[in-house]
């Protein structure tokens, strides 16, 4: 077996008094994909940043091809970290981005032709169909990611570290990424791959390292582990039942929300569905099918040009979130950081923002707020040592719990939750599933939009499938299974409006 290209021995890291990594050993060989998995807060990001030279280790040694290196030298060695948030200049072209900071020159002037040729060549080698002259702001998320990789590959790329690269990609885009990773691997690049999606880890990686609470739990060959075993190593216990048993409402449960013929220009055409009391209604579809846009249209966050909305049989006018809240409808955005939480503000202010009117009309009752925060921390199991920290300092899972708690402050009777578990760890996922299950049992109607098939199948009592802006089917009972959903989502089946499919 080959010697490792990059190795870390006994890496520890402390932030002030808090230790987040405890003597972790990690290595990756040339031409290998080594997956790093663990729950949020397990120390994956910290380890990754140390490997890529963004952070110094408190203890431990880093070696590249056997020779120790320090934080400053990582980039020169060809160790590149690709973040979830890309580091691209939006207004510049692909080629300008690829060469940003190390432009090719002829004398004082830029050598545009050489750069274009080189960019073409790099993109070609990666078989990535992006025009070097296109502006980055016009590219899709997956294309941007390719540009990031091309940027890395245009240098002497030896070690590529990727942080949840598929979190923002569709399945077909992920497939393209995997092809690209395999090609890099064939070229002898060492790849460190961080993901929450265990099926992907299984598919793409050669070895898996599991971290839990900053400790190295295991490093094993991927072939020796199945997904259950990985999950078990991550959480330290077996996940026998991820989803609580379904408990659908009686068939004659009253319809609490009726949406009729809603059109959101550019996104959704003529969408209708009913939601019953105590029901979990799943919304499936590919990314861009218009599910989020439909909900935002219903809530008045986007312009809708047609359609009526009825609550308990009576028509309601909803022009903005205020109206929706008054009608007892609450929405949790999929964009937790951009639209859900004020990352720079403490937990308390985030918690009460939506329901601030309930904490005093004229003056805010801060004591009531504190009490609400204490309750929320307890009820939603928000894990934070000091509630005075800004929301942005929480891990993804804790942020999601805070967002849930914030939404529940208005005591809605309808909860629409968009991608409830995006980017959060297995343990927290399960807590959120249990919570949604409980909501439904208490008679609250729940809409779950999710791109994770397992989530839809595991949670929903009925499933609405959308495809490019229209509802292509509403599935019930045994029809709620992967093939049926995929067929409706991809247009192989069910063009009839609102055809109810049950098997």
């Amino acid at each position: 077996m080959a010697d490792p290209l990059l190795s870390a021995e006994g890496i520890s890291r402390r932030f002030g008094p808090v230790q987040v990594l405890f003597g972790v050993d990690f290595d990756v060989r040339a031409g290998e994909v080594h997956a790093l998995i663990g729950e949020n807060g397990a120390g994956k990001s910290t380890l990754m940043k140390i490997l890529a030279g963004y952070l110094e280790a408190t203890e431990g040694t880093l070696r590249f091809a056997g020779r120790p290196y320090g934080a400053g030298g990582a980039e020169d060695l060809g160790i590149v970290l690709i973040h979830q948030e890309f580091n691209l200049a939006e207004h510049l072209t692909v080629e300008e981005n690829v060469f940003l900071g190390r432009e090719l020159r002829r004398g004082f002037l830029l050598d545009r032709r050489a750069m274009r040729e080189r960019a073409h060549q790099v993109l070609g080698e990666l078989e990535c169909p992006v025009d070097p002259a296109a502006r980055v702001r016009d590219l899709s998320v997956s294309e941007r990611q390719m540009v990031e990789i091309a940027k890395a590959a245009s240098r002497d790329l030896r070690v590529l570290i990727m942080d949840e690269p598929t979190a923002v990609l569709t399945k077909s885009e992920s497939a393209v990424l995997f092809r690209l990773i395999r090609r890099l691997k064939d070229q002898g690049v060492a790849v460190v791959y961080i993901s929450h999606k265990l099926d992907e880890v299984k598919e793409i990686s050669d070895r898996v390292t599991v971290l839990r609470d900053g400790h190295l739990i295991a490093t094993q060959s991927t072939g020796d582990l199945d997904q259950d075993a990985m999950a078990q190593l991550m959480v330290g216990r077996a996940i026998s039942d991820m989803y609580p048993p379904k408990d659908p409402p009686p068939a004659d449960a009253p319809v609490v929300l009726s949406v009729e013929g809603v059109t959101v220009p550019g996104w959704v055409r003529d969408a209708s569905f009913d939601l019953r009391r105590g029901e979990i209604l799943g919304f499936a579809g590919l990314v861009g099918a218009g599910r989020t846009e439909l909900m935002e249209g219903i809530l008045g966050l986007r312009r809708r040009t047609a359609g009526t909305i009825s609550r308990d049989g009576a028509r309601v006018r909803i022009r903005n979130v205020g109206d929706a809240t008054a009608a007892g409808i609450a929405y949790l955005t999929e964009d937790r950081k951009g639209k859900g939480l004020l990352l720079g503000k403490p937990l308390r202010e985030n918690l009460t923002l939506l329901a601030l009117g309930r904490f005093g009309r004229v003056l805010i009752d801060e004591r009531a707020e504190e009490a609400a925060l204490e309750r929320a921390v307890r009820d939603f199991d928000i894990r934070v040592r000091d509630p005075g920290v800004p929301a942005g300092a929480l891990s993804g899972g804790n942020q999601q719990k805070l967002l849930l708690a914030k939404t529940m402050q208005v005591e809605p009777s309808i909860v629409i939750i968009d991608e409830p578990t995006r980017g959060i760890d297995v343990g927290t996922k399960r807590q959120i599933y249990l919570f949604l299950h409980d909501l439904a049992r208490r008679g609250i109607a729940v809409v779950v939009i999710s791109s994770e098939m397992a989530e839809i199948i595991g949670l929903a009592h009925r499933v609405v499938v959308m495809r490019s802006g229209t509802i292509t089917g509403i599935l019930e009972g045994a029809a709620i299974e992967e093939n049926e959903i995929v067929r409706h989502a991809t247009g192989l089946k069910g063009t009839d409006r609102n055809a109810v499919v049950s098997a």
Partner: protein, 333 residues
């Protein structure tokens, strides 16, 4: 249930403290410097003088704190003040016939100043929210408009308040309670009310939320346009209050009245620790910032060691240093 590890993040104590207390520490240092330089500095006369002169900018800056907190800016406050003062003077002179020269006419003038400033603030706010134009552009435009209108009204010269009316109105600037002038009392009243609104009411919370992230505010059922509009109207109210105590000082208004007040007000807000990009307002910081700006001038006057012509340079340095300190405080985590 076992799940994600507790978050290890902590409050950035050292950085935050500097941000909150920085302006007050700077103020204390300046006062100490003043005492060392000249014992006259601490005389009641000098203190009253300094604070009275601070009052105009200070009152306007409290309003500016709200506008900046929502992520906007108002460049028009200086010319708005000049315009409101000019219109109020013209109105009082015109009404001297029917109303005489007693308090009735002064109250009429006050009402006119209030009406014009509130309308001007409303105009700025409507153009920013409904017109969807950057606040910088809108208020750059209205700044020119108000300035030009007051110049036109004064026909390029000076609008002077009728001397008998001025005699009635005079105590509003020169008088006071318990030896504290009315402008100072008004300044602290405005600041106290402003602080209460900023820290303890939903409106203040909403201003900060909008300045932090407008999308989050919208998704949190906040009426973003209405809150922004109200912030501009509140700014208009603050300008009116400043004008009400300013007019009796000189009893006149001209093309140069309130010149560069907008920049001084913005400087006071920034020195006070409010971030220019919005999201976090500090009303008492603004008060400290406004006092710091006047103190520099005062201390230079008292020493004679450095030319008073360098006042602007020193103020400039202080603004830049204030922002540098804020930044290093923020990046420490």
């Amino acid at each position: 249930m076992q799940s994600s590890a507790p978050d290890t993040a902590r409050r950035p104590s050292a950085g935050l403290d500097l941000k909150v207390y920085g302006p007050f520490l700077a103020l204390a240092a300046l006062i100490l410097l003043g005492v060392l330089v000249n014992p006259v500095f601490l005389s009641p006369g000098n203190i009253i003088n300094v604070l009275t002169r601070t009052a105009f900018i200070g009152i306007i800056a409290v309003g500016m704190t709200f506008v900046i907190t929502t992520g906007n800016i108002d460049l028009s406050v200086g010319s708005m003040a000049a315009f409101a003062a000019g219109v109020a003077i013209v109105a009082m002179n015109a009404l001297a016939g029917p109303l005489g020269s007693g308090w009735a006419v002064v109250l009429a003038g006050v009402a006119v100043a209030l009406a014009f400033s509130l309308a001007a603030g409303f105009l700025n706010g409507i153009l920013v929210t409904k017109g969807r134009i950057e606040a910088f552009i809108v208020t750059l435009g209205t700044m020119g408009i108000f300035r030009s209108l007051v110049t036109y009204l004064a026909d390029g010269g000076t609008l002077t308040l009728d001397s008998t009316i001025r005699a009635t109105y005079r105590p509003v600037y020169y008088g006071g309670l318990f030896g504290i002038s009315y402008p100072i009392l008004l300044f602290f009243a405005v600041a106290a009310v402003g602080a209460l609104i900023m820290y303890r009411t939903p409106f203040g919370r909403y201003c900060a939320a909008i300045g932090s992230n407008e999308d989050v505010a919208r998704y949190s059922a906040i009426k973003v346009d209405r809150v922004k509009l109200l912030a501009f109207v509140f700014q208009g109210l603050c300008v009116a209050l400043a004008v009400i105590v300013y007019v009796p000082r000189l009893g006149s208004a001209s093309a140069t009245t309130g010149l560069l007040w907008e920049l001084e007000a913005i400087a006071a807000v920034i020195i006070g620790g409010t971030m220019l990009k919005g999201g976090h307002g500090r009303v008492w910081g603004t008060v400290a910032g406004a006092v710091i700006l006047t103190l520099i001038d005062n201390i230079l006057n008292l020493t004679g060691a450095i030319s008073v012509y360098l006042n602007g340079a020193i103020q400039g340095v202080i603004i830049i240093v204030a922002v540098l300190l804020q930044r290093s405080g923020a990046s420490r985590r």
